[in-house]
Amino acid sequence: MQTKRMTYPGRFLPYALLAPQVIVTLIFFIWPAGQALYQSLLREDAFGLRSTFVGLENFARLFRDGSYVNSLSVTVVFAVGTTLLSMTVALLLASTVNRMIRSRSTYTTLLVWPYAIAPALAGVLWWFIFNPSIGIVPYMLEMVGYQWNHRNSGSDAMLLVIFAAAWKQISYNFLFFLAGLQSIPQSLIEAASIDGASPTKRFWTIIFPLLTPTTFFLLVVNVVYAMFDTFAIIHATTAGGPAQATNILVYKVYADGFVGLNLGSSAAQSVILMVIVVALTMIQFRFIERRVNY
């Protein structure tokens, strides 16, 4: 890419132009992050009157703590489940809509709607649908002999939050997959059909490989979404329960910090999350640099 080199008459102007961005970054990103880092090294007494420097003790405690390790594995299950479910359904919808000609834009518009719904509302919506006393799904499940109760079954609760979180993300994934599918030249599909590939085979040998850049991008975005943007959904449906079964890392940061008021531990957890985000972002940038791998 050709970049245009600008020259400024004085030293003041370029700094002044950069300043707003730098100030915003400093106040809203660097400062809180620094605070979290600093806090993660302190321990407050029960009354919040005094803080003592404890070094990496908060981190060491976390990894000795069974509930934190449990939260880690819950997060992995939740993130993998949400990502797989939302991406699979989105890809299915996108390939179906891509075949349509006249009704395509109508379907696209309708399928994007869930994305406009606030996460908390999405959570409540699914909480109603799956409500053990008044929900429609438990009622139907009971007819086939399954007693749905996410209030005391950990796996039911996990399924519920995965459904709610995945449902909200389908729209986003759908749009990207549809765009990806539409950028595949029709003649490639036609050539493959002349080459004797069945629709299923065409999908797996031509379409899916050509969607790789989109798929990888969405994979990272979805994992990040499931890990960090699902607080409201968890809060509105299960609040981390029952028995920590849906207590994902982000929710635990909140629960330990603002409910349990263990600020040091909460800060240490934030720092760990920060490290995870940085790692995911780096993976994504690495890949984007050479995303055109065919």
């Binding site: 493959a192 040998t205 790789t212």
Partner: protein, 351 residues
Amino acid sequence: MASITLEGLKKTYSGDVHAVKGIDLQIEDGEFVVLVGPSGCGKSTLLRMVAGLETITEGTLKIGDRVVNKLEPAERDIAMVFQNYALYPHMTVYNNLAYGLKNRGFNKEDIEKRVRIAAKMLEIEEFLERKPRKLSGGQRQRVAMGRALVREPAAFLFDEPLSNLDAKLRVQMRVEIKQLQRRLKTTSLYVTHDQLEAMTLGDRLVVLNAGQIEQVGTPMEIYARPASMFVAGFIGSPAMNMLPVDYLNEQGANGLLDNLPDGTDVVGIRPDDMHLAPPTAPHLIVDSTLALFEAAGAESHLYVTLADSDQPTVIRVSGQPPVAEGETLRFFVTRDALHPFNSATGKRTGD
């Protein structure tokens, strides 16, 4: 190897858009037939119907003795070369060639053998392990051809395969396609809008206009005796000049136009049949003013304005005659160079 038979083939979109309006055509085994026409004439649609990429609204399509109207593209035993080559970008050239064979359950040795033979024939052996994006336009074109011929299909279908190449490469690939088809003797149906490509490649041409066949014949038949004013204007470059008979009579035809077939009101004259020196045979004489002189090396095109007329007319002469723009030119046309047409029907009137 097979013949292709089209009987009353029609394509109608959304009820009332008639893209192809009933085509009857017999393509013999081993023949190279070119569908030529302006854009939007239905030639690509027709080819795609033969390939099975478009459904057939009405009519019968046979490849060999089989009626293939309802068969999937893969079951029709045809191969197609696309305008944009349609190479699979994520596969190596080898896998591009092998893909169709793999799908048809060939074993590894057979695939290897066939790919090697095709690659050798097309001189792409050294690129077999490369991805298509590392190839130049001409090389991609060869790979696309290779993918068609490894399967040894009953027929090749070409959809404007040369239109993405630069002029020099286009001529070279044109020659190669012709030679390859001569060698393999595979029935071929080739679509182009380029009349020169059509003339040079085809054993027979099918000139299409607005979803209908205007004329079928060998390139020289069509050039020598265009069946309609459309064909006359489309085949040959620069295009044939059309002069009203009345106008020529006014200019003094010496009775030369008296025995034209009934209904003739326009005559077509090829730009190279308009001579600047009087021929020995009886001839028409027309005066004109040279509006633009276009030198093209071995030949020159003279754009003239006829006396007492605003009819644009082109004359082609070899070399570079000593004429200047604005000069008055007198040119001569013999009787046998006239193509008689009726302007109302657009058809040729006997002769």
